[in-house]
Amino acid sequence: MEEIWNGILRAVELIVTLNPEVMEITARSLFISFTAVFLAAIIDIPLGGLIELRKFRGKRALVDLIQTLYGLPTVTVGLLVFLLLSRSGPFGSLELLYTPTGMVIGQMILISPILIGLTISALRGVSPHIRDTAISLGADESQVIRTIIKEARFAVIAAVLIGFGRALSEVGVAMMIGGNIRDYTRVLTTSIALQTSMGNLETSMALGIILIGISMILNLSLSRFQGR
């Protein structure tokens, strides 16, 4: 119990004194996860739109598969991407392993099922009459998709925030692809793992509290979007 209280105090201390190492790690966490979710959203939201709004065989099976992949274990994704990016793997020559870019790619893969699946759910929440109205007013397929995404925009933004949260607090991909290299690929989650293994429980707790704090801010924004 002492650790938790001391952890809170230490967290406050680290934040208030703007501890440079913690600031750097936090900034890196935010940057990597934000980039990942941004790039993923550009691909996944329209993709979700296409899947939901087109008719094709095996659509139901595809959506089921996507939803199953929501809970992909982060270490499994980490391992998969590692095998792809390793020197002995197909993309080894790109030298992306143990780099922040590699981490972005890994996190993009991790959160894509969530972004695609939740976009599909969001679009399903839009009245089918909207689609008819848009079509009858002359919209072509891509315009219809854009219109429906726009109608569901709050739910879609919520999906993006959820994806961001998942990317930010995952450790499997960050550890395996990033390698927790100091000053280069070390982020909040991998730091917590490291501090814990070193027995520095208060610092570990403090970092955890900072991470929770960021998640809380995210979730508050999320409620605002969902509430509307």
């Binding site: 395996m176 490291l194 814990t196 293994s197 027995g199």
Partner: protein, 313 residues
């Protein structure tokens, strides 16, 4: 339907049964007398040696043995300091001695040893082959500083037993660790466990310090080769320490001492000395018995049964 009276009777019986169930299970779990909790380091745990020893111990002693902590040395020691475990098995003499001095541990018993390896790319760009450990480190640093693209060193950076050994080697090589740590891109701080560090060294064709057993386990997947395999400087001694019941009442001191006594017994020493022979072609450990000088352990702490009793405060 049951009448109201019968219904109440039935409910009463069910309640009493549940209460009895809860009491019994509480009693069972409170009975820690037969349970031993060990904290150890991943490099030892991952070899499976401890589990083999534990299996034998359980047969002879009708006890429950659990190893809830097998991460870094740091977290093992932290668990001991909080009294969350009954026995510590680690490999960092300085911290072990400190642990006992602070009153957290009873006594130190060396029981096994092996060596660290310095591993690296087989073309050995820093030319360490044939040198001793500290000379090798010197060579790696110098080559790394002038040629960081060719020569790199990966450190675990996690205050583990291996990391402690690494730091002492830099010191022996004549460097201040904080200087090494920040001297340039050739020195990569991975903040990772041994396996992950080996994989990274493999990917980057870099040098690193590793314990023998983890390396043997990963060897099949690596192109790294051991360049320096022995010598005093790379000695890796494992010791067991029972947690002090005076400072941490409630720890199972009796069973901890029993386990240590088993560790130093000839039968167990034999298991230790031959472990891994079949799977790796050579044993992963050397028994402590008869090797006290090599291990640098005094007679009182080298492969002898426990002396300190379990008197509580």
């Amino acid at each position: 339907m049951l009448s109201k009276g019968l219904l109440m009777q039935r409910n009463l019986r069910i309640s009493m049964f549940l209460i009895a169930l809860i009491t019994v299970s509480a009693a069972l779990s409170a009975a820690d007398e037969g349970r031993l909790k060990i904290a150890t380091t991943s490099s030892l745990y991952d070899t499976g040696l401890l589990e083999s020893i534990v299996d034998q111990f359980i047969e002879k002693n009708d006890a429950t043995v659990q190893i809830p902590s097998h991460g870094g040395t740091g977290i093992a020691i932290a668990a001991g300091q909080k009294g969350d475990v009954d026995l510590l098995i680690v490999h960092d003499k300085a911290r072990e001695v400190n642990f006992i001095e602070e009153g957290d541990g009873l006594e130190r018993r060396c029981f096994a040893y092996n060596y660290f390896y310095i591993v690296g790319p087989d073309d050995d760009p820093a030319g360490v082959s044939g040198l001793n450990a500290s000379q090798a480190f010197k060579s790696i640093m110098e080559s790394g500083l002038s040629n960081p693209n060719q020569v790199k060193f990966i450190t675990r950076g996690d205050l583990s037993g291996t990391h402690s050994k690494e730091q002492s080697l830099w010191k022996a090589a004549g460097y201040d660790y904080s200087a090494v740590n920040t001297s340039g891109p050739w020195y990569v701080d991975a903040g990772s466990p041994m396996g992950a560090t080996l994989i990274m060294a493999n990917e980057k064709s870099a040098y690193t310090l590793t314990d023998m057993s983890t390396f043997m386990a990963y060897k099949g997947n690596l192109t790294l080769v051991p360049l320096i395999e022995g010598g005093d400087e790379l000695l890796n001694v494992y010791s067991a320490i029972a947690i002090n019941p005076e400072k941490h009442p409630g720890v199972n001191c009796q069973l901890a001492n029993q386990f240590i006594d088993y560790l130093v017994s000839p039968e167990c020493q034999e298991i230790i000395g031959t472990y891994g022979q079949e799977q790796y072609g050579k044993p992963l450990f050397f028994k402590g018995e008869g090797n006290c000088e090599v291990m640098g352990c005094s007679a009182e702490e080298c492969v002898v049964p426990t002396q300190a009793g379990c008197a509580q405060a």
